[in-house]
Amino acid sequence: MTSTGAAPEAQATGAGGAALVIERVTKAFGSFVAVDDLTLTIQPGSFFALLGPSGCGKTTTLRMIAGLEQPTSGTLSIGGKDVTGTRAHQRPVNTVFQSYALFPHLTVGENVAFGLRRTRANDIAKRVADGLDLVELRHLADRRPGQLSGGQQQRVALARALVNRPALLLLDEPLGALDLKLRRQMQLELKRIQTEVGLTFVHVTHDQEEAMTMADTVAVMNRGRIEQMGSPAQLYELPRTTFVANFLGQSNLVAGTVVERDEKPGLLGVDVGGTRILVPQQRAVRTDGAVLVGARPEKMRLLVGDQAPGEAENVLGPGVVTDVSFMGVSTQYQVEIAGLGTFGVFAQNLLGGATVTVGSPVRLAWAVDFTFGLDGAEAADEGTFDLDDEL
């Protein structure tokens, strides 16, 4: 094949980006199934995040989109064109690699021009300059990557991918190597650039906060499958699996049994350790049998003494405060309820610091509307942070 023939028509798909359709894709390495029957559509122009712990298959998925890995079965199409079986250099896709993979023997400018040279684009000098302007690094065009800081290298990698105006821009944990402050800054920067250029971004990360701040749509992956997909707010407010509930922020989950389908109109009556809890039917994955009742810690509040709950609130307890940590904007409490376990409660420090001390007897109250119900067959600790995992 000749080089020109092999080069994809990157510009044709141009601004706005293209849709990516993944259909029933499976990737197995020997007996290990990294990606299991994945079907996914990413809308043109969206900022899409694939979120999951390491080994969940998100990077393999990204590599298959880039053409660096071929699926064992299934098809991929970009902008309506089937690209399954084509190789990386034939796809209108560019990647920002985790290690940046800047060419150390080329200057920043030459790095950025690399893709344009291969596709024999017009106006290479101008496009390189524009690309470097976009990441505010034009003054460093003659430096070598080795002379740049981590953050600068990251931006060069971004410019190098963006100047090609790919149908899809893939970001493989691009901020992983940066320190926290720089990462925050780069998150905003990336979001700004994506809005500005309007390309389809596919972002792979294990950092749930990063995924939520940047993406319009987040797909949470676990064990080669997508657990749940939606906007960050949807995923957060209404997780559909315990994995999502725990991996995305924190959740208080407690086992119960549905005892009445319509305790009140549209509300399930669930028995949790002898207490009746109400769960909106639409917020429950199942409406009978064993369920896990969940609520986010910041939705819960502490009832002290005989303080009465609000009208549409669930109440659990009494329990005992076992830990109080002051976090600045909020205070975190751990409340132990005999027979049910430990619950976390985040209270905004509206009136100064902690109002309750360790050892105090309390009850927990939260709005029925914020309660969700999950399948009781799932392990309640699925997706919780494990020290051995990410490090």
Partner: protein
Amino acid sequence: MTAVLDRVASPTPQGTAAPRRPRRRIGDMLVPTFAALAFAYLLVPVAYTVAFSFNDAGKTNLVWRGFTLDNWRNPCAAPQVCEAFANSLQVGFVSTIVATVLGTLIAIALVRFRFRGRSATNLLIFLPMSTPEVVLGAALLAQFLALRVPLGFGTVVAAHVMFCISFVVVTVKARVSSLDPALEEAAADLYASPLQAFWRVTFPLLLPGIAAAALLAFSLSFDDFIVTNFTSGAYTTFPKFVYVSATRGIPPQANVISSFMFVLALAIVVLVQVLGYARSKRLRAR
């Protein structure tokens, strides 16, 4: 150095460390002194060889008879010296090119691909390096005799390529394995075909390793005597010429040529070192 400074700076418990100090200082001097003597041992014959290239030698270059530049003015005055030198250069260049190409390809394959027979390949690379030259020479000669191959330039080059390949492989392999595979993926991602990715990214990054391997191969080939002796027949290389003429006296021109090569190689290496040092210093300064 920092270790020493730290030790001096850090407060030591009284009494325990104090008596050890003087002994340490002697030890500090002892090892470098010994090393300096060892360096002298290493370099005395080199200095001797260079010095005797200026000897106003008569028939033999055995004793010092006075300083002259004549030998340097007429390096080809002695019969056969320059012919042997030219032969060695030819053999060196051809063997280096062939061995470097073949060895580099093997090195890339060994690092980048996992395939059946990988450990057998590694063994095949390792064996020629761990076989004494006299055995390599004897084996090749046995084969050439059996096949009635006439000995000469061709057989010498064939032999030199063989023992250089392994050294090229190990040298380049070290470089390939220090190369981030993501760089080649990035090239592919940026629309470079496999061939373009190799020439634009992989090859330039391997170049220092390949150059080092080529220099090593050339110096191995240029200075080889034993294998050459077995495979050359009547063909004469520079080391062979020196060895053969050792019995009847080596002309000072041989020292001239050897000294010339020494100065040339030294200049190249020192230049590379100094340039590299200056560059790293400049980078740090930015």
